[in-house]
Symmetry: C2
C-alpha cells in the first residue's frame, strides 16, 4: 500500500488512539491528525505519541485527508458525519469502529442522501474495560479480528485500502454482511455486557445483602469485568443495536426461565447435562 | 496450635488437595491421609506431595484422625458422613468445604441424629475453573476468605481449632450464620455461574449463528470463564442450595425483563444511569 498523506482520527480514545498510534509507529501516513472537542485530551494524545497534531475544527481536521476514522460513540456518528460532510473530498475514505453496523450505515445514508462509494463500515474486535486515550496501545489490534461490512455501493478500492491498513496493523480482516454482524455481536458481546451490568446493579441495590461485594471471588471478578466498561459507549450500543439486543435478551430470559424451573424441580440429570455441555463447548472453543 | 497427629482428607481434588498440601508444607500434622474411591487419583496426590498416604477404606482413613476435612461434591456429603460415622471417635473434628451450608448441616443432623459438637461447617472462598488434584496448590487459600458457619451445638474448642488451622494456611476466617451464607453465595457466586453456563449453552445451541465462538473476544472469555467449572460440583450446588438460587434467579429475571423494556423503548438516560451505577459499584468494590 502506498503511504497515505493524511489520516484523521475523529474521537481519540482507546479505539481511535490505538489505531492512530499503530499507524504512527509503522509510519503508514505522513500525518496523523486528531479531532475532538476536549483539547486537553488531544494534548495528552500528542504527549503519548498517539497523534502528530490535532484540531478542534472539523473543517481543518478532515480537509485533504485520505482517510477519516470515526471512533466516537454510536450516538455521535450521525452528527459527526453531518459536520464533516461539507469538507470531505470525493476521494476521502470514511471508515469507523462502531460496535453496531446497521445504525452507522443508516446514519450515513441519511446524511449523504445515498451511501458514499468511499464509506467502509468496520468494527475492530478489540478493547479493554479501560477507555480513553491513556489506554491507547499500538499493539491493540495485533491478532485481533476486524470485521468490515461494506455496503452495496462501497468501492473495491476503498474496501481494499481499509483492509490493507488493518492488515498492516496486525489484524485479521473479515468481510461480513452488516445485519449478520449486528446479530452475532448482539449475542456474543452486547448481551454479556448487559448481563454483567445488570448483575452488579442488582447486588448493589439489594441492601439486605449488606456489603456483598466483599464476598466475591475471582469468578465474580472475571464475570463482571465488562461491567467496568464505559457507560456512554454501552448506552449507545443498547440504543443503536436495540432490535438484535432485545431479541437475544428475550432468548436469554427464556433460557433462564427454563433453568429456574429445572432448579426448582431439582432435575439433577438435566442440570448436569446443561452445565457439562456448556463446559465442553467453552473448553473446546475458547482458550482459558 | 498444637501439632495435629492425623488429618484425613475426604475427596482429594482441588479444594481438599490444596488444604492437604498446605498442611504438609507447613508441617501442621504428623500425617495427612487421603481418602477416595479413585486409587490412581490418590497415587497422583502422593506423587504431587499433596498427601502422605491414602486409603480407599473409610474405616482405616478416619480411624484415630484428629480432623476430617470433607471436600466432596455436596451430593455425596451425606453418604460420606454415613459411611464414616461408625469409625469416628468422640474427639474427631469434622469440617467441610461445601459451597452451600444448610444442606450439609441438614445431612449431618440426619446422619448423627443430633448435630455433633465437633462439627464445624465451612466454606473456603477460593477456587479455580480447573478442578482435580493436579490443580491443587498449597498457596490457594492465602489471603482468601474462609467462612465458618458453626451450628448451635458446635463446641468453641472445635471451632477454634478449625479457625486456627485456616488462619495458619493464610486465610481470613469469618463466622457467619449458615442461612445468610447460603443467601449471599447464591447471589454472588451460584447465580453468576448459572448465568455463564446458560449463555454458553444458548450460543452453542443457536445454529443460525454458525461457529459463533470465533467472534468472541476477551470480554466474553472472562465472562464465561466460570462456565468451564466442574459440572458435577455445580449440579450439586444447584440441587443443594436450590431455594436461595431460585430466589436470585427470579430477582435477576425481573431485572433483565426491566432492562429489556428499557432497550425496547430506548430509554437512553435510564440505560446510561444503570450502566454507570454498575461501573461505579464495580470500580469501587472490585480491583480489576
Amino acid at each position: 500500500m502506498k503511504k497515505l498523506n493524511k489520516i484523521t482520527i475523529v474521537g481519540v480514545g482507546l479505539i481511535g488512539g490505538s489505531f492512530a498510534k499503530a499507524i504512527k509507529k509503522l509510519g503508514l501516513a505522513e500525518e496523523v491528525v486528531g479531532f475532538g472537542k476536549n483539547e486537553s485530551n488531544l494534548q495528552t494524545a500528542i504527549k503519548l505519541d498517539v497523534i502528530d497534531s490535532y484540531s478542534t475544527d472539523i473543517a481543518e481536521a478532515v480537509k485533504g485527508s485520505d482517510l477519516v476514522f470515526l471512533a466516537v460513540p454510536l450516538g455521535v456518528m450521525k452528527s459527526v458525519l453531518n459536520d464533516m460532510k461539507p469538507y470531505l473530498s470525493e476521494s476521502t475514505i470514511i471508515t469507523d469502529g462502531g460496535s453496531a453496523k446497521s445504525s452507522v450505515i443508516l446514519s450515513a445514508q441519511e446524511v449523504f442522501g445515498e451511501l458514499p462509494k468511499n464509506f467502509v463500515p468496520g468494527h475492530p474486535i478489540a478493547g479493554k474495560e479501560k477507555s480513553g486515550v491513556t489506554a491507547a496501545d499500538a499493539d491493540l489490534y495485533i491478532d485481533h479480528r476486524v470485521i468490515l461490512t461494506p455496503t452495496a455501493t462501497t468501492s473495491k478500492s476503498a474496501l481494499n485500502t481499509v483492509k490493507q491498513l488493518w492488515s498492516l496493523l496486525g489484524a485479521n480482516v473479515e468481510i461480513m454482511n452488516p445485519q449478520r454482524h449486528d446479530e452475532i455481536f448482539a449475542a456474543t458481546s452486547h448481551l454479556p455486557h448487559l448481563l454483567a451490568f445488570t448483575l452488579v446493579d442488582m447486588l448493589n441495590e439489594h441492601e439486605e445483602l449488606g456489603d456483598v461485594f466483599q464476598y466475591t471471588a475471582g469468578g465474580f471478578r472475571d464475570f463482571t469485568r465488562i461491567a467496568s466498561s464505559d457507560a456512554i459507549m454501552w448506552r449507545d450500543i443498547a440504543m443503536y443495536n436495540s432490535d438484535a439486543i432485545v431479541k437475544w435478551l428475550k432468548n436469554y430470559s427464556a433460557a433462564i426461565e427454563n433453568l429456574t424451573g429445572l432448579v426448582e424441580s431439582k432435575e439433577s440429570e438435566t442440570l448436569y447435562h446443561l452445565f457439562n455441555e456448556a463446559k465442553k463447548a467453552r473448553d473446546k472453543h475458547i482458550v482459558n
